[in-house]
């Protein structure tokens, strides 16, 4: 019976101890929720272990990835209090790192086994204590293991009366809970960090994100889709989001998505989406399947990026290239035509070359004017002076230029530039600019035509030129340009006469710039 009573006492003691351990484990998991870092959780666990074993202070350390040193994870609050008392001015507040695998705690790691040393100074592994450390009178070290693998050590110090086997057992039973709580806390922190990353990414990246399940049901992220399209989650569900796709893109979009689902393939698709105000913008939609272990897609992740501005730029660039091609090819065709006409007019090769070069230069000048002043206007007086200068003539006694300020639209400038060039060349060769004593007067004014449209009337009058038997200008390129091309192409009214004393040319040109396409 005695033995039974003894057994019963033992049993009760064991139960009480087990109960204490369970309560301690409970406390760890309960309080773990509130810990903001793994170090804070470490301190909490140490406090629980101290309460359970009667230790005065404690620490825990973790093996570095290389497993050759210990990284101090936490020092208990009680230990910090003792340190601060012993070391009042600015005791080291940081948890030390990279401890060598020596001393009593090192022995626990090396042996992967618990160690009780109730006379620590006499232990063969004793290395003493660092400055500020309270004198160590007893030591209990317990290995920390995760899934059976050693990951660190918990060290408890100074139990009144020394550590007992039951303290070791209690600490060993607590250790897995500590490891699990720490692991859980780290996973939670990592998750929170990645969640933060995701949220920040979503704010930074101008994209809408979604998740789609096997049946094509969409789960749009946050409220991005609703913010853009005005569709709520219910409206967007079950392919309802296609309603926000431009009608012209809808069939192709649905087909593309269905193909992606059917074939488990990623998709990339450009599409116009209607915003809540009814305006369409281009989006690049991309979607990738997520696969389970059997490697069939279980759901899809998708993102839609606003590429509208890029789209407009691309479109504009395409149109610019097309426009450039059009202009270059057109002017080449004109140059070809001018060349044939210059050659057909005949004359010495040198003269033909001279004429052609002059016309090419005049064309180049007017082209420059047209392209450089696409939005602005050309000053008529400057235009005339430039053309005269190109044949080596400046205004002076023999040449007078007079007229009001007239800003010419580019096409009018093109026409007048070419006409003035032909008149000037003719004049230098046969007219007022060749004969001493002859005069050239260039004048202009503005008025309205029969429909009241504003136009510029320019007259080129030569005086004092001896009569020529044949004026080449009558049949040449210049005549065709002034009498045929200007009316045909620019809607001008022109008159070119060879009166006594020289050439007289009148040009009436509309100033109204009709809108050119593009």
């Amino acid at each position: 019976m005695k033995a039974e009573i003894h057994d019963e006492t033992d049993l009760l003691e064991t139960l009480a101890r087990k109960n204490a351990v369970l309560q301690a484990i409970n406390r760890i998991f309960h309080e773990a929720l509130g810990a903001t870092s793994d170090e804070a959780l470490g301190r909490l666990c140490l406090a629980v272990a101290e309460d359970l074993t009667g230790a005065s202070f404690s620490f825990m350390a973790e093996l570095t990835p290389a497993r050759d040193r210990l990284h101090d994870l936490a020092i208990s609050d009680r230990a910090w209090t003792v340190f601060r008392r012993a070391w009042p001015e600015g005791a080291e507040q940081h948890v030390p790192t990279h401890l060598d695998l020596h001393g009593l705690y090192g022995r626990v790691i090396l042996d992967d086994a618990s160690l009780i040393a109730n006379d620590p100074a006499a232990h063969p592994d004793a290395i003493g204590t660092p400055h500020g450390h309270p004198p160590l009178r007893s030591f209990l070290g317990v290995p920390l293991r995760r899934r059976g693998r050693l990951i660190g050590v918990m060290g408890l110090g100074n139990r009144v009366g020394g550590f007992r086997e039951i303290d070791r057992e209690a600490a060993e039973e607590l250790a897995p809970a500590i490891v699990q709580a720490l692991g859980g806390k780290r996973a939670e922190l990592a998750l929170r960090e990645s969640e933060d990353m995701r949220r920040v990414s979503m704010e930074l990246v101008p994209a809408m994100l979604w998740r789609t399940d096997q049946s094509g049901n969409n789960k749009m992220s946050e409220s991005q889709w609703a913010d853009l399209t005005g569709q709520d989650e219910r409206e967007a569900a079950d392919w309802g989001w296609l309603e926000a796709v431009h009608p012209e893109d809808r069939v192709a979009t649905e087909a593309t998505f269905r193909r992606s689902f059917a074939r488990d393939e990623p998709l990339e698709h450009q599409v116009r989406l209607r915003d809540r105000h009814g305006a369409y913008r281009w989006f690049l939609m991309r979607q990738v399947p997520r696969r389970d272990e059997a490697s069939s897609a279980t759901h899809w992740f998708g993102a839609a990026t606003d590429v509208h501005d890029m789209h407009l730029l691309e479109e504009r660039q395409r149109r610019l290239v097309a426009e450039l091609q059009h202009r270059v090819r057109n002017i080449l065709t004109v140059v070809r035509s001018v060349f044939s006409r210059t050659v057909e007019a005949g004359g010495a090769l040198e003269d033909v070359a001279d004429h052609f070069r002059g016309r090419l230069d005049a064309l180049a000048r007017t082209q420059a004017i047209v392209t450089q002043t696409a939005s602005g206007n050309v000053d008529l007086q400057n235009l005339i002076r430039d053309e005269l200068l190109s044949v080596g003539v400046a205004d002076g006694e023999a040449v007078t230029i007079a007229g009001p300020d007239v800003p010419l639209p580019p096409r009018a400038a093109e026409a007048i530039g070419l006409a003035i060039h032909e008149l000037a060349i003719n004049s230098v060769k046969y007219g007022a600019l060749k004969c001493p004593g002859a005069l050239l007067h260039i004048a202009w004014s503005t008025d309205g035509d029969r429909d009241g449209k504003r136009r510029v009337r320019l007259t080129w009058t030569e005086k004092g030129v001896p009569a020529l038997a044949i004026s080449p200008c009558r049949q040449g390129f210049g005549t065709e340009l002034i009498c045929e091309a200007l009316p045909y192409q620019y809607g001008a009214e022109t008159r070119l006469t060879f009166v006594g004393g020289g050439v007289r040319c009148e040009i009436a040109l509309p100033l109204q710039e009709e809108g050119r396409p593009f």
Partner: protein, 141 residues
């Protein structure tokens, strides 16, 4: 057999050569005077009767309304407007036409992509061949 085939081929050649553009009425739409004028000269030399040339959409539409036209050449960009309304009218009347343009085909609207197109600067021989093809006198190669 071989000889007869060769003879037949020779005869065909002679026949197509015999059919000329003479007297066919061609509308030229081109806003650039010198290009229009060159086209007119080249096609008149083939005996064609040139309607126009004109450089504006409104003028072209008036001519289509008033004049009989067998075939047409259109510049795409007429400076102040694109030639599409003219193309539409010609298609509606079943008048064959081709584009003479500085643009590549892809810039044209979808419904005009099948229209034959010569890129500027063009050779008058190429234009004549294209016009003959439109008149059913030659195969386009």
């Amino acid at each position: 057999m071989r000889d007869r085939a060769a003879v037949a081929r020779g005869r065909t050649t002679i026949l197509t050569d015999a059919i000329t553009l003479n007297g066919r009425r061609l509308l030229i739409v081109e806003d650039e005077y010198f290009i229009a004028s060159d086209l007119k000269r080249a096609l008149e030399a083939q005996g064609m009767v040139v309607v126009g040339p004109v450089g504006r959409v409104a003028d072209a539409l008036t001519l289509i309304e008033r004049e009989p036209i067998d075939v047409a050449t259109l510049d795409v960009n007429l400076g102040t407007a694109m030639c599409y309304p003219i193309a539409e009218q010609l298609q509606a009347r079943g008048v064959p036409f081709l584009f003479l343009t500085g643009y590549d085909g892809w810039t044209l609207p979808e419904w005009l992509r099948d229209v034959p197109l010569l890129i500027k600067p063009f050779d008058s021989a190429a234009v004549i061949a294209a016009v003959r093809a439109l008149c059913g006198l030659e195969r386009v190669t």
